[in-house]
């Protein structure tokens, strides 16, 4: 069996990196974005949050990032140092759906930003910034401005900026949704290579079944209105995964099952 689906949730990893305990979020307009969401994210996992729009997957990611507190429930970081407000320490990095670069700053200055905000000078940050740029293959574009780069390259800069703080947890909110398929496949492969090499934990929000199966070690399918965990399933295909994985029967089976789970989640959601 290459694929396990257990609606009750995966057996919790020994020491989760972060746990959502019955987290609910109500927006100021009264929308119930998340209801009693509980989820353990184990160290080193690559978890995709997959679901229809309005299922609260981005909201969950933002709560984990510390952008907006949950209305009820709590967030636990069993293995990390966190302050009393529950805000994520800088060891958490976030990649937005848009590259979200400062247009007036060069590639170097954009990647330097997280370190600059911690008071690290441009010179002192140089080796870290160059290392992060090398990871995404943009070491030759230090002095370029964002407007001079393609969509894929902008996203690479955005990823380099997230990596420059050497995060333990990387939160990605549909980072490749706006890119063409060829660029997306390339960035998927590069992201997996980096993940295997550095052993971060990744939470990856997507609405693409194929992308989630290709990347993840675990897929959390969510249902909408209110947003909640619908199915929690493991993708038990070995890494490294390359282009041959995309054509394998394992991949196909996983895609079909994830797709079925997503359909079931859509049917369980109140129609938009």
């Amino acid at each position: 069996m290459t694929f396990t689906a257990s609606p009750a949730g995966m057996p919790a990893p020994a020491r989760p990196l972060v746990s959502l305990r019955s987290v609910s979020k109500t927006f100021s307009n009264g929308t119930l974005a998340l209801e009693h969401m509980s989820l353990d994210i184990g160290q080193g996992e690559f978890v995709s949050l997959l679901g229809p729009s309005g299922c609260g997957k981005s909201t969950a990611l933002r709560i984990i990032a510390g952008l907006g507190a949950p209305s009820s429930g709590s967030l636990d970081w069993p293995t990390s140092m966190h302050d009393a407000t529950g805000k994520a320490e800088p060891e958490v990095s976030f990649v937005f759906q848009e590259p979200t670069l400062m247009p007036w700053a060069t590639v170097y200055e954009n990647v330097w930003l997280p370190l600059r905000l911690r008071g690290i000078s441009k010179k002192a940050a140089a080796s870290d910034v160059r290392e992060a740029l090398a990871m995404v293959g943009l070491e030759k574009f230090e002095t370029a401005y964002p407007r001079e780069l393609s969509g894929g390259m902008k996203m690479r800069v955005s990823i380099a900026r997230a990596l420059v703080t050497r995060p333990r947890l990387l939160l990605m909110d549909e980072p490749f949704a706006a890119l063409d398929e060829i660029t997306r496949f390339k960035l998927n492969n590069d992201l997996l290579t980096l993940w295997e090499k550095f052993g971060w934990t990744v939470i990856f929000v997507t609405h693409s079944v194929f992308e989630s199966v290709y990347l993840s070690s675990r897929i959390v399918v969510m249902a909408a209105r209110p947003g909640r965990v619908f199915t929690d399933m493991g993708v038990e295909a070995p890494y490294p995964r390359g282009d041959e994985f995309r054509t394998s029967t394992v991949y196909n089976d996983c895609c079909r099952q994830a797709s079925d789970a997503l359909d079931a989640a859509m049917n369980a959601s109140v129609p938009a």
Binding site: L67, M102, P103, W104, L117, Y145, R147
Partner: protein
């Protein structure tokens, strides 16, 4: 390539484009952009001169261009001194408007309370015609110069304030989230995010304020009136009208126009230099 292609019966069009290409070699696009308006100017001046001479229009109705040029040279001691006065008022007002407008915009962006307390009154000050306020200002100020300065400042100040305030509020929400995620302080967010993001808005305000400062300096002098050594171009213009010295009136008018155009170019240049590397407004579209 073109030599290899068989020459078809397209000689008519190719000779047409060849002519255009030859013209392009002699006159670069930049040269054409300067040359055409200059030629137009000379044409208009020639027509004007011919009309005045041919119809014997008296100089107190419409002076010929030659007469105006004469006045410009002959009256330069008076007009030049007046120009300096007007320029002083304009630029002092503009600089104070930039400092005050930006400072107040930053204050407003940092506190909702300050915005609620101040912004409505800035609007009221702006929408009340300056000509209507100037008599009061003259009563309350020690000298006409100060009164003119205050008038010009009131007019130039608002576009800087409202544009900069708008810019400081229009920061990309994702970038704000990013700064929050990395625990940026209020000042880090202000100096490294909000202010650079507001720069294009501020510069648009600067271009408006530059023109308005000159206009307000002139309008205020019309309203306030001034005399003697401290009088600016507006007073000289009125004075020339009273004395039916119409050539001098035209000369003063030309000085004002040229000043306005130079201020516009200067502020546009500053804007271009500051934005050319990153902002869409300063970029050539590549298609």
């Amino acid at each position: 390539m073109s030599e290899i292609l068989p020459a078809p019966a397209s000689s008519a069009t190719s000779s047409g484009s060849g002519f255009r290409r030859a013209l392009g070699l002699v006159f670069s696009p930049t040269l054409v952009r300067i040359l055409v308006p200059v030629l137009m100017l000379f044409l208009l001046l020639a027509v004007w001169q011919w009309y005045v001479v041919a119809h014997k229009v008296p100089p107190y109705i419409l002076p010929s261009p030659v007469l105006v040029a004469n006045a410009l040279v002959k009256d330069w001691p008076i007009l030049g001194a007046a120009l300096v006065v007007t320029l002083k008022i304009t630029f002092t007002a503009l600089i104070l408007a930039l400092v005050g407008g930006v400072a107040l915009a930053i204050l407003i962006s940092q506190s909702k309370w300050v915005e609620l307390a101040i912004y409505p009154y800035a609007v009221i000050l702006q929408v009340t015609p300056i000509v209507a306020i100037s008599p009061l200002i003259i009563i309350y100020t020690p000298s006409t110069q100060v009164a003119l300065l205050i008038c010009a400042w009131i007019v130039a100040f608002f576009p800087v304030l409202s544009n900069t305030a708008q810019g400081l509020k229009s920061t990309d929400h994702n970038l704000l989230n990013l700064f929050e995620l990395y625990r940026a302080s209020r000042w880090q967010t202000l100096f490294w995010l909000r202010i650079p993001a507001a720069l294009p808005y501020f510069l648009a305000g600067l271009r408006i304020a530059g023109g308005l400062a000159l206009i307000a300096a002139v309008v205020a002098e019309f309203a306030a009136g001034s005399a003697g050594s401290g009088s600016g171009l507006a007073f000289r213009l009125l004075e020339a009208q009273f004395r039916l010295n119409i050539p001098r009136l035209f000369a003063a008018l030309i000085l004002l126009s040229v000043t306005g155009v130079l201020i516009f170019f200067a502020t546009s240049l500053v804007s271009h230099l500051l934005l050319r590397k990153w902002h869409e407004s300063a970029l050539r579209r590549e298609n």
